[in-house]
């Protein structure tokens, strides 16, 4: 294996994409070739610089709203599956659908009403979008969980139980008072890279919590779903309900949920 071959595989090797035999060959070459060893160091730095500092350009909320309005958002009657996509191309119809969904969804979620997991998920997504659309999404900027939590005192009729104070992966941005269905909710906003993540904490009773399809996340039996491009995780702990919503990757959101729901 010459230097050219080695350099071709350095990046793959750093990502763990080469087999053990090739990895050993590469390591052996790097130990005896200072030029390739420098090359490997430079590749490391380049990757680090790109991953940490290359600016990311997420889509604007306006674009997301436009796209959401053009895609199907409700169960449809049986028909060839691809026709559902074509139907969504009629923006007026889709926009009307979105507008029409709001009030019935709210009524279906009122305490005592017969609801389902999809309605809970849709409510969580709506609330998340509502928070993002506010002129000032945060009522209190984060100086740490011990500043955010006391801020809710007197603003809610319950004490939100959230012990995760944020970390380098999911820094806490702050909090706000919001609503989940018919009740006030404490909203904690975390961030993953440039993506906001909303955690809604609210009184759990009287809501149609999903009882099936639950998975264990942290110390909680959680319900995970995707709705309109947003990942949603719902769980209960004691008298409180939790809804975690974001457009970050489902695995990443699961990691945050595990930190929040650890027993």
């Amino acid at each position: 294996m010459d230097c050219e071959d080695v350099r071709l595989h350095l990046h793959d090797d750093q990502r763990g994409h080469v087999g053990p035999e090739l990895h050993r060959e590469l390591r052996a070459h790097l130990e005896r070739c200072p030029a390739c060893a420098h090359e490997e160091a430079a590749e490391h730095v380049l990757t680090e610089v790109l991953e940490r500092r290359l600016p990311q350009h997420p889509a604007s909320l306006a674009l997301k709203r436009r796209l959401l309005a053009e895609w199907p958002a409700a169960p449809v009657e049986a028909r060839p599956w691809w026709r559902g996509w074509r139907g969504a191309l009629v923006p007026a119809l889709a926009a009307a659908l979105v507008l029409a969904l709001g009030p019935p969804l709210y009524r279906g979620l009122t305490p005592g009403a017969r609801g389902d997991a999809a309605a809970m998920v849709a409510e969580a997504v709506n609330d998340h979008v509502r928070v993002l659309q506010r002129d000032r999404p945060l009522d209190v900027e984060s100086g740490g969980i011990h500043e955010v939590k006391p801020w809710f005192a007197g603003r809610l009729d319950f004490a939100p139980v959230v012990s995760f104070e944020g970390d380098a992966e999911f820094p806490l941005q702050g909090g706000a008072v919001g609503y989940f269905v018919d009740r006030k909710a404490a909203v904690f906003v975390y961030k993953r890279r440039l993506h906001p993540v909303s955690l809604f904490v609210f009184r759990a009773e009287g809501l149609p919590w999903p009882a099936r399809g639950l998975t264990q996340i942290g110390g909680a039996a959680a319900y995970t779903s995707v709705s309109r491009g947003f990942n949603v995780i719902l769980w209960r702990a004691g008298d409180l309900g939790y809804a975690l919503v974001s457009d970050v990757d489902a695995l990443e959101l699961g990691r945050l949920a595990a930190k929040l729901a650890r027993g």
């Binding site: 350099r7 071709l8 595989h9 990046h11 793959d12 030029a35 420098h38 090359e39 160091a41 430079a42 590749e43 730095v45 380049l46 680090e48 610089v49 790109l50 991953e51 500092r53 290359l54 600016p55 990311q56 350009h57 997420p58 889509a59 604007s60 674009l63 997301k64 436009r66 796209l67 959401l68 053009e70 895609w71 199907p72 958002a73 409700a74 169960p75 449809v76 009657e77 049986a78 028909r79 599956w81 691809w82 026709r83 559902g84 996509w85 074509r86 969504a88 191309l89 440039l194 993506h195 995707v226 709705s227 309109r228 491009g229 947003f230 990942n231 457009d247």
Partner: protein, 181 residues
């Protein structure tokens, strides 16, 4: 046979596709070089995806499929229309400078430290000087796409992805040299 009220698989796929809007927009922004064109390109990508939904193979990588539609849309709509060096396409930068670069500047710790101190704007500016293909392959790699998926997006043989990526990263390092002084 699906029953009334059952969720349309197309709708499910559609919502999954929307989960990638940020990452699609990011690539679009680096391809077009400006926000307005990036938004138009993303919107056009979703419209094309809707029309071509029956061509998507369930179980394959939806993100890679969308990236391919976006890039093809960029090439067909923008590359022919514009002479801007930012969107000029594959020959924007002299190929002689896109190959294996003289990386002597990185072969000591001082130069590596300079590279580490580059700020975000400098890295972005350097990336934007590369050809469309080089920018794309670097960004797709950062997104974690496999070589097979990158090949699908670029419409090239899987066997050439590794060398294309190596050349692109080498060219980027060469560009970054201008900022790391």
């Amino acid at each position: 046979m699906r029953t009334r009220g059952a969720e349309d698989p197309g709708a499910v796929l559609g919502r999954e596709a929307l989960a990638y809007v940020d990452t699609l927009h990011n690539l679009a922004r680096y391809l077009t070089g400006n926000e307005t064109d990036a938004e138009d390109l993303v919107q056009e990508t979703y419209a094309r995806a809707l029309k071509a939904a029956d061509q998507f193979t369930p179980g394959t990588n939806l993100k890679a499929w969308l990236f391919r539609i976006l890039r093809n849309g960029f090439l067909s709509s923008y590359r022919r229309q514009r002479a801007s060096p930012l969107v000029g396409g594959l020959d924007t930068v002299d190929p002689a400078h896109q190959g294996v670069a003289d990386d002597a500047w990185l072969r000591d710790d001082v130069e590596l430290d300079r590279l580490r101190k580059l700020v975000a704007e400098e890295i972005e500016a350097a990336l934007l000087t590369l050809t469309e293909e080089a920018r794309t392959v670097i960004l797709l790699d950062l997104e974690g796409l496999t070589e097979t998926e990158v090949a699908h997006v670029l419409g090239c043989a899987v066997g050439t992805v590794k060398s294309r990526l190596a050349r692109a990263r080498s060219a980027l390092r060469q560009r970054l040299k201008d900022y790391a002084r």
